[in-house]
């Protein structure tokens, strides 16, 4: 049986169920790297060119970890586009090349090109080409791919019930997951999934917010029609798939009564983030409280925690004020003090 390594990073968080069930149906054994930890990050930083963004550095760490295992292949797809007229950040296009250039002695890479921007024909051929590594039956390969797509849909529908993709993947693999408990704040959180759901990169953003008694609303929880419709309201179409999804989600969240505030997680040094983050900030700011958190390999958790706490404080107090409770914005009445400090 062939063993295929899949790095637990980048598009893992969007497509793992498809990949896993595709390769499994073809009889391969799948091995993933461990969730990002200090070693992965340090290794990735050592390997990467300094200018690359943080998530790509982390990815390299994952690949390096997998290289230590006995593997027949490592799956490093070349993602260009996953839907018509839209693209993935150009860094993904060069991923297999980057891996080859920076990591010596990798097992053979499965570097299928995924480009659905115009038509699917080439892609279908490529799938067959990849499948042939494991079987000669074209039909079996096609079925495996279809099955993979179904599994992916299933996993996404799990996520849509209030979970992150990381959690949804775990549930899809059979791990039980607790639903959110009662919360008093509802916060929209945006960012590239591979930053947001990687606990190391996001410094556990989603779980931290939940621990602060917030319900977290993610793009995966919204219907894609709503998101696309909102995204279509800006004058120039955003041709990055993830960027458009975030923009549409942000616009939608900013109009929802039940959303108290919006957080955007950006990566320092990310081109798309610097544009999309800025557009979102401008569009959303007047309707909803908003903060942009920027992370990179040097960020300390303390700075993030302070901002999150301050943000939650602010939301709670603004709401208390709106509901005209007798409480002052800071708890007891401030002005019972003589003003004499």
């Amino acid at each position: 049986m062939s063993r295929v390594g899949i790095p637990r990073s980048l598009f893992y968080y969007y497509y793992y169920p498809l990949w896993k069930s595709f390769f499994a149906d073809l009889g391969a054994e799948i091995l993933t790297s461990a969730p990002s930890n200090r070693h992965t990050v340090e290794r990735g930083i050592e390997l990467a060119v300094d200018e690359t963004c943080f998530p790509i550095k982390v990815y390299l760490g994952h690949v390096a970890e997998l290289c230590r295992e006995e593997l027949d292949y490592i799956f490093v797809p070349r993602l260009v586009s996953v839907e018509a007229r839209s693209y993935i950040c150009p860094k993904f296009m060069g991923l297999p090349d980057m891996v080859r250039a920076l990591i010596k002695e990798t097992p053979p890479l499965i570097d299928i090109t995924v480009d659905l921007s115009c038509d699917e024909k080439c892609f279908q051929k490529d799938i067959i080409r990849v499948g042939r590594l494991f079987t000669r039956q074209a039909r079996k390969i096609q079925l495996a791919y279809q099955h993979g797509c179904e599994e992916l849909r299933l996993c996404r529908s799990l996520a849509s019930q209030g979970f992150t993709m990381e959690e949804a993947i775990k549930m899809w693999e059979g791990e039980p997951m607790e639903a959110e408990s009662e919360t008093d704040l509802n916060i929209g959180v945006l960012g590239h999934g591979y930053s947001l759901y990687d606990e190391r990169i996001s410094m556990n953003l989603v779980k931290r917010l939940r621990a602060m008694n917030c319900k977290v609303l993610l793009p995966e929880h919204l219907g894609s029609e709503v998101v696309e419709a909102e995204a279509a309201t800006v004058p120039k179409r955003v041709f990055w798939t993830l960027g458009r999804k975030m923009l549409g989600s942000a616009l939608h969240m900013s109009q929802r009564e039940d959303v108290d505030g919006i957080i955007y997680l950006a990566c320092f040094g990310c081109g798309p983030d610097s544009l999309i983050g800025e557009i979102i900030e401008r569009k959303v700011r007047d309707n909803k409280p908003f903060i942009l958190l920027t992370v990179d390999e040097h960020s300390g958790e303390a700075g993030i925690i302070t901002r999150l706490e301050a943000f939650c404080d602010m939301l709670r107090r603004r709401r208390n004020y709106r509901s005209e409770s007798k409480l002052s914005p800071y708890g007891a009445s401030l002005h019972s003090f003589e003003n004499t400090v």
Binding site: A302, M314, Y330, E338
Partner: protein, 331 residues
């Protein structure tokens, strides 16, 4: 007399204040942290509480803020542990009800807080650039051989401030050296630096924020009159500097502690003199090898008793303590 202790432990300075029942400042203390917050806390507490007994002062509640707020909470026993944004906002809107903008510049960070109806409406903290903070001024004063305390006096004497590039600390420094060599008077260079710092602050921290009056300028750097003047000139707004600008975070923490006491009617968590003064506190860290996360776990001890752990992602160290830290839960 009922007193409320507020402490603000930052990376550069540690501030302590005592507030009386009526919100009057009773004592204040501004110390350099010098990389040793445990010592700063102990020394600071010792001097701020010195002789309180004889004067019938009693600490009723404690609030902590700043990057060392959790440490302070463990060592002293705090009733309220608050982030710096909220603490500064509370103090400013207490002093200047109706204030709309707070400019806070401290040793290593700076923030802007926008208030509406005395509530935080929006805020930002600087992320990358140190050119807009106190350590930058400290460095430059050392370079110019002028004590930092006199920086402001020089600055306000300037008639024609020199324009200094403020985009980044490194450029500002080389530009300043250049202007010095060209023979510009030192007052004009210093005022030029202040203006550069203000522009830098407004571009980085204040980016996209609507700065409206009344404006309150606080934090250690507000000591520098040149900066307040530069803000007034560049913003065209009146700048208010509170009398105790350097301890506003601590004042906010004390106010919150007092409120907490009034709301909860529960006894204070403050540990008292003996606990703080007679124990030998140590903090050390080790790398946990329990899983690939390799967390840097910090352990705070009083003599041989472990008071707190943090830094462990899975909370296995934290929950190993008999007396759980949720006593100190962030409010």
């Amino acid at each position: 007399m009922n007193l409320y202790l507020g402490v603000d432990i930052g990376s550069v300075s540690s501030n302590f204040i005592l507030l009386d029942q009526n919100g009057r400042l009773y004592r204040k203390l501004y110390l350099r942290t010098l990389g040793n917050p445990v010592k700063a806390l102990k020394d600071g507490y010792a001097s701020i509480s010195d002789g309180l007994d004889k004067q019938h002062g009693k600490i009723r509640a404690v609030g902590s803020t700043g990057s060392g707020r959790h440490l302070a909470a463990v060592l002293l026993g705090a009733d309220v542990v608050k982030n710096e944004i909220t603490a500064h906002a509370v103090a400013a809107s207490h002093l200047f009800p109706g204030a709309k903008t707070i400019i806070e510049i401290g040793g290593q960070d700076s923030k802007i807080i926008i208030l509406r109806n005395n509530i935080v409406h929006d805020f930002a903290m600087n992320t990358v650039c140190a050119a807009g903070t106190g350590s930058f001024l400290d460095q430059q004063s050392a370079r110019l051989n002028i004590p930092i305390q006199e920086f402001g006096d020089y600055a306000v004497k300037s008639g024609h401030p020199v324009r200094i590039a403020g985009r980044c600390g490194v450029f500002a420094e080389s530009d300043m050296i250049h202007k010095q060599q060209m023979g510009f008077p030192v007052e004009d260079i210093i005022m030029g630096l202040c203006e550069a710092l203000v522009r830098n602050y407004l571009n980085n921290v204040g980016k996209g924020k609507k700065i409206e009056e009344p404006v309150v300028f606080q934090g250690g750097v507000a000591a520098n009159r040149g900066l307040a003047k530069a803000f007034e000139k560049i913003l065209g707004l009146k700048i208010n500097v509170p009398a105790h600008y350097e301890v506003m975070g601590a004042i906010g923490a004390a106010i919150l502690a007092r409120e907490q006491m009034e709301l909860s009617h529960s006894p204070t968590r403050f540990r008292g003199d003996n606990f703080v003064l007679e124990g030998n506190f140590t903090s050390n860290s080790h790398e946990c090898s329990g899983c690939p996360n390799l967390c840097e776990v910090v352990c705070i001890k009083r003599d041989n008793e472990v008071l707190a752990y943090w830094g462990d992602r899975c909370k296995k160290w934290e929950s190993s303590i008999k007396q759980p830290r949720d006593r100190l839960k962030v409010v």
